[in-house]
Amino acid sequence: MSTAPRGRSEEIAGSQMLTEMVRLRGALQAAALPLDLAGVAALREHRQQVIDQLEDYVIPRLMSLDAPLLTVVGGSTGAGKSTLVNTLVGHRVTAPGVLRPTTRSPVLAHHPDDGKWFGQDRLLPDLKRVSHPTNDHDCIQLVPTDAVPKGVAILDAPDVDSVEERNRLLAGQLLAAADLWLFVTSAARYSDQVPWEYLKQAAERSTSVALVLDRTPPDVVETVSGHLARMMASRGLKDSPLFGVPEGPVTDDGLLPLGHVAEIRGWLEALAADAFARNAIVQQTVGGSIRILTRRVYPIADAAEEQLVAIGDLATLVERQYDIVRKQLLTATTDGTLLRGDLLIRWQEFVGSGELIRSLDAKVGFVRERLVNAIKGKPQQAERVASAIGTGLETLVVEHAEQAAARAAAAWRATPYGAQLVDAAAEDLSRAARDLRRRVDREVQAWQAELQELVRTESGDVRTSARFLAVGVRGLAVTLAVVVLGGDQPPAAAAESLRMGTRLLEAVVGPGAAGMLRYKARESLEDRIRALLAGEANRYVAPADQWQLAPDAGEQLRAAARRVDDLRYAATVQKGSGGHL
């Protein structure tokens, strides 16, 4: 094949453009759009299309500008694509059928000398190269034949409108990789909606298109082609050639009489011979692709930034709800909210019998007190209070966590993109975590154990005193817990018994140490509650962390697109009105 007449400056521009395209692809891949923001579905699709377009066409094309002109024969099911390709090639390379949709891998017919251009690493790298017909959609069948002129390759794509979704997707992918579309329609098809949507896309990105009106009875060719030409003109394809292929007898090999396709064949041969015209077609399609790519990139960049903002908003929503609930919970654990019901009664039983206080004043011996306690069951009473504290705290924290989860989930549901995350989450985000009760239980146990340890260490030298021994570590720890939970302004019903608890504490360890104990116990409880709720809130933001959105993805993308635009502009200025690159 002959090399296109291109200057050195153009080559430099081409290699620069290639670099920028690769960078643009990288920037696009970094700009993921995971959240369902308004209108994001279309942008996601655009992003994928742009990436595909870069990988399947623009980058390979820029890497090998001298490769043959890839002509993709596309169109509707039943419009006669296979017959047309067979006739153009001159023998049967694909099996046309009356049954729809025809399912088989695409066929690429090329001149034997052009084979090097269609290796695995070139065009359409996802599709495996095979040399025999197959029905595998992930393959592409290569047919080297002298019937195809050097410099042109013909690719037979699946239909764009059949019920086979895989066919439609592959057709879209192949058409996106084409230098030139040979779009086939028929008398029954030419006003169908689906093919025209494809043609509209082609017109938008100035892909070179030639239309073939196939399977048309000779007597109506004139009427239909006239109407079709008007439709083309009104839809931005007035410069595209229109070929008519009359309906004719098909040979057993699936070929039409040669004369029926002579016009198309002649046109292709002329293109093959004319390197300049071929290059112009490639330039037009690549240039159009790049123009539409950069134009599509800006909204994607905006969307990537919106995603970041939205994720930030979602995190704020959760944070706000959990803040409110955390505040409520911390208040509830210091204002005597818990000193009700069972806990209050058991505490009053523990502290209120009077014997406890009296025993502090009496100068009684250690052994005797142990005996008395054993008989009267004071330690059991302390145990009962401790278990009531455990239950009370556990239900209080779980209940608040449930409220926080319900509020956070509701706040997310109020946003369209948050609802998606709530629905997609592995666990029910409107509820507290399933193992929360267990974790709270563990924390409350740990807190009570810590209080005992605190009492033991803080009480220092009084540890062997009769008073201390009378109440016991457990009893003091329980008293400390209740005093902390009661806070400074306990409810009236509990005030009396709390005053006694405070007196008890002060009587045993002294007023200073009692204050210190209260402070430390309080801090420890708050820390534990904060940690528990933080774990709960974290369930919401964890998925967003996984996406690892780069904060500057949008800016990078814009910069990449701007560099491409600059290159395009420079090329246009340099070459006058000639080039698109």
């Binding site: 009356v98 409108d161 059949s162 019920v163 169908d192 019901g341 009664i345 239900t395 209940e399």
Partner: protein, 540 residues
């Protein structure tokens, strides 16, 4: 939803007398009204529209069957229409799309006006077959047919698609015209065939242009069409290969339509298919978990939890203890009681004024525990329900937690525990004990006075004993006896008081929960039951 007014219901009753369709439509209506506010409004509106459409159709001429011929542009709808009518009513041509408006041809015009009016087909696009003076066709077979030629569904003219969408919903029998080029188009299968999988009974598929296929390949093409239809869930639909141009199969198609029309079943079948499809959609959206309500066991379990949270068992035990000690003191020999009482008072003073034996009182409930219990009940009650219903049930149960807690606190606070008053008989025994004790003291004093005066012998005698010592001894013995007799009864009384307090507190709990939790939750569950039963009626 708005209840259908009396007149339309009456008309529907008239139209559906003797059939189950009226009951099925009503079932659908009930399901919609039960689900309103819970399921997606768009779905419910759509279902209501189905009911309205069905009602409207059933009110119209039962004599007429609306047959719609639909298909892609260029598949030959109009040629098929013309072949069936035997007239060139619809324009055919090579320029696509050809047909822009629906055209109708009616065999047997009596009563057809209102049907055509309902279909929205203007008179200029109507043809009355019996208004023409030709009797070439055996038209009796198609008597009562309203045959419509629809525009295409796949051309670049979007207005055509909208007209097709509208009329496809109204036709009693849908005849889809396919052709060898277009029979596998996604535009047809994805939009009009697969979504109508429920309507196989009111559908016919015509494979037109069969003459363009070699005779030996025709059967395999019909089989292929059937394969694609089976993929759409329409395997049961009849496929008739025809060529409107060559006249192949047209008679068979006419016969098929005629037989459907003759059975006069198409209208009902279409409505039934619509109802079944709508019921199916509701069923999928609303879930099919069995209806339930809150069982007495569940309600009791919640009461138990709330009672715990209010400390009811502990309070009851305290009441029992309090009554036991008071009653025991009351029936005891007064000096003993007095000493015990004094001892207690001294302790109390040490406790900075706190009275350890002050009568037990109710305390406020542990709110978190109550809320938790209700939340768990809501979970149980909504388990397995589809999300919208589960939300509604949970909402009914837990939306007023604060009010419930306040009501519990208020209610429990007003309960008289009667912990500081001993029963009447105990009070009586106390008086008796004091009387007897005073009597004994009197006897003792008398004896002492007589003894000091040395006039002991002058004292009256009873059975040979001086009276004063007898009074003293009798008083003491009687006091002891009273104590011995009544002391054992104290335990029972105290237990009874404790149990009474327990009952009174639990009654408050049970009352509040029944009114504020169980009743609203059962209300939401009842709506779900109504929804399920409505769907069951619609699907019968």
């Amino acid at each position: 939803m708005t209840e259908p007014d009396g007149e339309s219901r009456e008309l529907r009753d008239l139209a559906t007398r003797g059939t189950s369709i009226g009951a099925r439509l009503e079932g659908l209506e009930r399901a919609v009204s039960a689900a309103r506010g819970r399921l997606d409004d768009a779905l419910l509106d759509e279902t209501e529209a189905t009911v309205e459409r069905a009602t409207a159709r059933l009110r119209l001429s039962a004599h007429h069957t609306v047959v719609a011929i639909a298909g892609a542009t260029g598949s030959g709808k109009s040629s098929t229409f013309n072949a069936l009518t035997g007239l060139e009513l619809s324009s055919t041509g090579v320029r696509r799309p050809t047909t822009s408006w629906a055209t109708a041809c009616v065999w047997g015009s009596e009563g057809a006006e209102e049907v055509l009016d309902w279909l929205g087909i203007p008179p200029r696009h109507q043809t009355m077959r019996d208004s023409m003076l030709d009797t070439n066709f055996d038209d009796r077979a198609l008597d009562g047919v309203v045959l419509m030629d629809l525009p295409d569904h796949d051309s670049t003219e979007v207005a055509h698609h909208l007209e097709v969408d509208r009329l496809v919903e109204l036709a009693d029998l849908l005849v889809w015209v396919l052709d060898p080029q277009k029979y596998a188009d996604a535009a047809l299968h994805d939009r009009y065939l697969a979504p109508y999988a429920t309507h196989a009974g009111v559908m016919l598929i015509v494979l037109n242009h069969i003459d363009t296929i070699a005779p030996d390949k025709r059967q395999s093409m019909v089989d292929d069409v059937k394969r694609l239809l089976a993929n759409d869930g329409l395997g049961a639909v009849k496929v008739i290969p025809i060529s409107a141009r060559e006249g192949i199969g047209v008679e068979e198609l006419r016969q098929e339509i005629a037989s459907r029309v003759e059975q006069k079943r198409s209208t009902t079948a279409r409505v039934e298919a619509d109802v079944a499809a709508a019921a199916g959609r509701l069923d999928r959206a609303g879930g099919d978990a069995p209806p339930r309500d809150i069982s007495p066991q569940q309600a009791r379990a919640l009461e138990e939890r709330v009672a715990e949270a209010a400390g009811v068992p502990t309070i009851a035990a305290a009441v029992e203890r309090s009554i036991r000690s008071r009653a025991a003191r009351a029936v005891a020999w007064p000096p003993v009681a007095l000493v015990a009482g004094l001892g207690r008072r001294r302790q109390d003073e040490q406790l900075a004024g706190h009275r350890a034996d002050s009568p037990p009182q109710t305390v406020a409930v542990q709110r978190a525990a109550v809320d938790n219990g209700i939340r768990e009940l809501a979970d149980e009650a909504s388990q397995g329900l589809a999300a919208p219903w589960a939300d509604s049930v949970r909402d009914a149960a837990i939306s007023r937690l604060d009010e419930i807690d306040d009501a519990l606190d208020g209610g429990l606070g007003t309960v008289d525990l009667r912990a500081d008053r001993v029963p009447g008989w105990v009070a009586l025994v106390r008086v008796l004990q004091w009387l007897v004790f005073l009597g004994a003291v009197g006897g003792g004093v008398w004896w002492a006075v007589l003894a000091s005066q040395g006039t002991l012998d002058e004292a009256p005698e009873v059975a040979g004993f001086a009276l004063p010592p007898v009074v003293l001894a009798g008083g003491l013995v009687l006091g002891l006896l009273l104590w011995l007799v009544f002391r054992p009864l104290v335990g029972g009384t105290a237990r009874a008081r404790g149990a009474a307090a327990d009952d009174a507190l639990r009654e408050v709990v049970s009352d509040v929960l029944a009114k504020q939790v169980v009743a609203p939750t059962n209300g939401a569950l009842a709506s779900y039951s109504a929804f399920r039963s409505g769907i069951a009626h619609a699907q019968q």
